[in-house]
């Protein structure tokens, strides 16, 4: 089974991960669990029976809508500055899952550049969703 997790909240640019996953729910991806997480440690809730994991999150950057993909493990993750509310960030949650032996063999992070000061990222929602959908479908053989 494949799991796609949108990380963030309901607000502003931080909502882009949730909105993408909500759009993906309308596209008929088979054998896929599409869920939302607010705190990174919640990622650990959704790993049972998951073989392929996709995480969709906002990142701060100048080019709103630019999509970055990072496959776990990747040394550049350690160099990035992750913001989190609750004590453990996204790489930390993945590392914890790895240590506990519950991390799926294939993990991809999708980071969407957003400008937090510009509020919602609705303008880019359709395009990034489509890009992620195409790549997920192709790479995972859907």
């Amino acid at each position: 089974m494949r799991t796609v997790i949108g990380i963030g909240s309901d607000h502003g640019a931080d909502a882009i991960g949730w909105r993408v996953v909500e759009r993906l729910r309308t596209k008929g991806l088979s054998d896929t669990n599409l869920v939302l997480a607010r705190e990174p440690s919640d990622i650990l809730r959704f790993l049972d029976a998951t073989k392929v994991l996709h995480l969709v999150d906002a990142c701060i950057g100048p080019e709103t809508g630019r999509l970055h993909t990072i496959d776990w493990p990747d040394p550049q993750l350690a160099k990035l500055s992750w913001k989190t509310t609750h004590g453990i960030d996204v790489p930390g949650a993945l590392e914890l899952a790895d240590v506990l032996g519950i991390l799926p063999p294939l993990v991809t992070l999708w980071c969407i550049e957003c400008d937090p000061s510009s509020g919602e990222c609705n303008a880019i929602l359709e395009s990034v969703t489509e890009a992620i959908f195409r790549k997920i479908s192709t790479v995972d053989g859907q």
Binding site: H11, L44, R45, T85, H86, G92, L100, G101
Partner: protein, 444 residues
């Protein structure tokens, strides 16, 4: 990640910076000034911009208050929602159906489970095992950390069923719930809670023999009390001098004030402007005899007494309250009769009302005034962490004389550890603490 810029004591003023203190919630800084052997200023410096929720609520329909206040905290949204809704129900003269009240208590238990288990396993326990993070702890104790994660998942699931979703639940309404859970949804939770009860007891036993520092503080423990049950969602307020303060009189006994070094208000107790302590240790102190049977038995087995004044043992208090939340949750699930209606209808009336409940981190107080259209005219929200801030500074002031002979990195680490015992939730936006330590070794 602690990025310490360490330095040895010298004759001149010294500074240490820890840019980010991990494993706490929110963002702030700590300033310590040492003047030789004397402790100078000790300031918990919260620099996050205020979010003005109280002003934001003005003019809003009271039906929106629960959804707005739940956004104050991603870890304890139920505490904010429940306290707000109950205050508004007091204004409207609503008494909810008894079984709705039970479901609300069950919902609050879910939040205690989620929050306590997160803090115990991912934020606090690493301090006692010489681990710098939950990841390091998981390498040493994988089964215990897995157990903690599963316990938290059960809390999340319980909240999903009752609140509509685990993240910022949406089901709490003035007068009851928007939608009652289905009987089969509740029944399906019982096996998980049975597993959770046994495993939360095992978790408490795992923590029993941690190397707790010898550090007792003469706290003024402030918590809700109730004559019949362990107070969670209702009760009167008890402090050292006053065993039963009506919630309506909270502001006659406690007040908030601005301090120059913090964007968050600090609370003090009248009449002598003293600090006080809210949270699990205070609740157990005030309500030990009303712990549920297995929670009480576990407390006795692991040496948790009602007169524990050591903040480091707060992890045990959280473990006991996790057992209580599972036990109480099971009792409610096994006995609940779904009410015939999800909420009590009411006609809007103007007025003012208050409520206080026990958030995972301690007492929370709300006061609202609404007009005859049901619009909010005034809102006041006093969260637990603002009440504990002054006490945290007092604790640090008491701890620091024991640390003066150590290097700055050790002092920084020990100060962080003490702050973490409070499980402070400074805000829901980012990380927490920079430590700025200034030493002046010159004789005074």
């Amino acid at each position: 990640m602690n990025d310490s810029n360490e330095s040895k004591p010298s004759e001149s003023m010294r500074s240490i910076r820890v840019p980010i203190l991990t494993r706490v919630e929110g963002e702030g800084a700590l300033l310590v000034r040492l003047l030789g052997k004397e402790i100078g200023e000790v300031q918990l410096n919260i620099y996050e911009p205020p979010r003005f929720f109280e002003a934001l609520l003005r003019g809003k329909p009271m039906e929106d208050v629960a959804d707005i206040t739940s956004r104050i905290c991603g870890i304890c949204p139920i505490a904010y929602q429940m306290t707000a809704v109950q205050a508004l129900e007091n204004i409207q003269g609503i008494t909810v159906d008894p079984d709705v009240a039970k479901l609300r208590r069950l919902m609050y238990c879910a939040e205690w489970i989620e929050s306590h288990v997160l803090h115990i396993h991912l934020l606090h326990a690493p301090d006692f095992f010489d681990c710098d993070s939950a990841i390091t702890l998981a390498k040493k104790y994988p089964e215990e950390v897995k157990r903690g994660l599963k316990l938290k998942q059960i809390g999340n699931r319980l909240l999903e069923v009752l609140g509509g979703r685990a993240i910022h639940p949406i089901n709490l309404a003035i007068g009851g719930f928007y939608r009652l859970p289905r009987r089969e949804e509740l029944a399906a939770l019982i096996p998980d809670l049975e597993w959770g009860l046994q495993n939360s007891i095992d978790a408490a036993r795992w923590l029993a023999n941690l190397p707790f520092p010898n550090f007792d503080v003469a706290y003024d423990f402030v918590a809700l009390t109730h004559p019949d049950v362990y107070a969670i969602e209702s009760g009167s307020i008890a402090s050292s001098e006053s065993p039963s303060i009506r919630v309506e009189d909270y502001e006659s006994h406690f007040y908030e004030m601005h301090v120059p070094h913090s964007t968050a208000l600090q609370a003090r107790k009248k009449p002598n402007d003293t600090t006080y302590f809210v949270g699990p240790l205070a609740r157990i102190h005030r309500n030990f005899d009303l712990l549920t049977p297995l929670a009480k038995k576990t407390a006795e087995q692991i040496g948790m007494t009602p007169n524990c004044f050591n903040p480091y043992r707060g992890i045990l208090a959280r473990a006991i309250e996790t057992v209580l939340a599972f036990e109480e949750g099971l009792r409610i699930l096994r006995s609940i009769r779904l009410p015939s209606r999800s909420r009590v209808p009411f006609e809007v009336r103007s007025g003012e009302g208050v409520s206080a409940t026990e958030a995972p981190r301690g007492l929370i107080f709300h006061r609202y005034r609404v007009d005859d259209q049901g619009k909010v005219e005034f809102a006041k929200i006093v969260p637990p962490t603002s009440q504990n801030q002054g006490q945290i500074e007092e604790d640090l002031r008491q701890l620091l004389p024991q640390l003066l002979e150590f290097d700055d990195a050790t002092i920084a680490m020990d100060c962080e550890r003490l702050v973490r015992t409070y499980d402070p939730c400074i805000s829901c936006s980012t990380h927490f603490l920079k430590l700025h330590l200034e030493r002046n070794e010159c004789e005074r």
